[in-house]
Amino acid sequence: MGSLQLLPPSASAHAADMDWLFAALLGVSAFILLLVFGLMILFCIRYRKGSKVERGNRLGRTWRVEVAWTGLTFAAFLVLYFWGANLYVRIHSPPGDATDIYVVGKQWMWKIEHPGGQREIDTLHVPVGRPVRLVLTSQDVIHDFAIPAFRIRQDAVPGRYETLWFTPTEVGEYRLFCAEFCGTWHARMGGTVVVMEPSDFQRWLDSQDPGPSLAQEGEALFRSYGCSGCHGGSSTVHAPRLEGLFGRPVPLEGGRTVIADDRYIRDSILMPKAEIAAGYPPVMPSFAGQIGEDDLLKLVAYIKSLADKTADSVERPAP
């Protein structure tokens, strides 16, 4: 039947921070509640019909009292707001050395792919003490990747990438849930997050079917979809080279600059006319509807793997 637990396991650095925030919220609420309930009960007893206490000299001008209790409660609320906002910003600022793991939700399972190509379904193995960044998307409807023990969750939305990061602090196994209603088996779309000692984790990685890494698969797709036809070294088409692109700023037509991140790469494949690199003609065709989410992730992983490479041939001058 399970015991009457009050708190979930706390298995990430953020979880501990969250529990402090929870305690503060509880504390402020309990204080206000006790005040209100206490006064209500006190007044109901003291001033009940027929009681002989003094009722004269009632408060005339209420203005000062109103401002006082309004101001004080608002000040308390603002402190809580800033605390929570601060934590929220931190949840959304992954460290640069986080390992990227790709997660695709679909009715009704989670497909997880490690950068080395290891794949799992409904289970996520991670090493303790190392930051992990999840890149989430969905193949069909909106899902949500929720890990209560880490106190985080994020929607997996079809058509876009969302990210979530954490650093596990406790070895163990923790529940993973889907937290956005997605159809019949929504309640069964869960699994386990397995946090291991780094050595155990390495052993686990090595024991997985050593298929090609995501980036290697992406390289094969880069050729089979014809991307290398324009973006490869021997192309006669004036297309941007992708070596050294990922993570760097890209000046666009019209003056804006964007950073070439996962989203930019993905959108460039699906909606190439949305953000045209400055100096290049808008001739890239869209691959929307032709490349599934899995393959998109692999292409992104491949282009990411080129981040530290340089183009082999000389850059063609702009027209």
């Binding site: 015991s3 609420s29 509640l33 209420t62 109103e66 605390w83 929570g84 209603f181 159809g183 929504h186």
Partner: protein, 547 residues
Amino acid sequence: MTTATVTGKPEEPVVATKNYLTEGGVTLRSWLLTRDHKRIAILYTLSITLFFFVGGAAATLIRLNLVTPSGIFTPDIYNRLFTLHGVIMVWFFLIPSIPNTMGNFLIPLMIGAKDLAFPRLNLLSWYLYVGAGFLALFAIVIGGVDTGWTFYTPFSSLYSNGYVVLALAAVLAVGFSSILTGLNFIVTTHRMRAPGMTWYRLPVFVWSNYATSVIMVLATPVLAITLILVAAERLLKVGIFDPALGGDPLLFQHLFWFYSHPAVYIMILPGFGVISEIVPCFARKPLFGYKFVVWSSIAISVIGFFVWAHHMFVAGISLYAGLVFSLLSYVIAVPSAIKVFNWTATLHKGWISFDAPMLYALGFIGLFTIGGLTGLFVANLAFDVHVTDTYFVVAHFHYIMVGGMVSAYFGGLHYWWPKVTGRLYPEWWARIAALLIFFGFNLTFFPQFILGYLGMERRYYSYPPEFQAWNILSSAGASVLAVGYALPFFYLGWSLFRGKRAGANPWAATGLEWQTPSPPPTHNFDRTPTVSRPPYQYRPEPEPQDV
């Protein structure tokens, strides 16, 4: 209490034989074609009660299913049950509840008018409601919908195999009913007040319904267009909400919540109005800080339009959007806090009695405060990331909607029962029901806060075994709550035939509605009243007839 008019002179209960129930015909036709706001209010009360029990039946089955981790229903049935529960309770119970029953009956009386500005529009509102209700029941009976009351795309537009379009049509129709009611109330409040009834002499109940009506007329049209877009996408397989078709699912969420967040204020503001009438009466003291209470309602109505994306903190909105919407959500807590403080302060140095309406009102203040405080939890960005879509949120909104609004509804029902029916309800049964409801409610929903923080997700027909203990407690509470809700149905029904006759003013309350017989005549007042004093002119001392 024996009856008394505002001047304090006791009088024998006058059996008002010529009243709105007996005048104007007693045939079904006279009721179905009535233009009398009081009869329309009764029609609404009957239909709303029906839907309350339909929604309640779904809730009963849900709590039954959640007693065991593996559930007793198949997931498809369970998913249809919670969708039914949400759709019915939100649109067919909560939103029309106080406005269309008590608002319809009392607003003209409270302002000294003979009817609302547009009586035929009022009747049309009811027919739209009933028509929509038939559509909804039909959709349920032929197989139901499983999208949740929130209809998120692309699940609802492309993947669900429930009767989505029918459900959308039902909600569209009831939405128009809501818009027309709001329009009627706004024009009535502006244009039909009796001589001397200035804005600052209006009872807070009228102000609350006015603030509610502003939201109804401005927010509901956005819902209408959103539902049309989803229906069109589903029928034509073209649309702006599914990425596979080139659309954006977040666009749906923004459009949906732009209505649905203000909608929750539609659902609670009238409750604030009822409490603001009951507490001064049973504390025999003017409402503390009348102007603050009034303007806090308007503030909630306005600010409520600017917080919708706090439902989307993990949906994929930008960091900056999150920061802004969370801050505004904290701001909107302030006016609600003001009200709670003011009601409590009204009790100070009062002359307090504990009739059933007051018990419901006190219960409201307690349960709404808990619900409102937990609103601060979910408004908190980091905290919400952990608890959104869990039972924490479910508990939060049930504390406000059920602990708050339904308590206010029952409180108002009991308070104005003598006025509407000319009968007194049996006081002890009413108090027992009020206490059962308070106790049963807390037992049902408090464990859900704990479940939510532990990580139990919403809309789950089955759950991991470690959550069972709290679920059993919650379901046990639900059984007590069910008894508490069923009781009034019986004793109020009984009182219609056997209850003691009520006079014009059994509570010795202020307010124009008490200045006319119980039940009122069709034309409300024999002579249009003139108003010269502020509302809530109570004094915390024994009534003359008690001496």
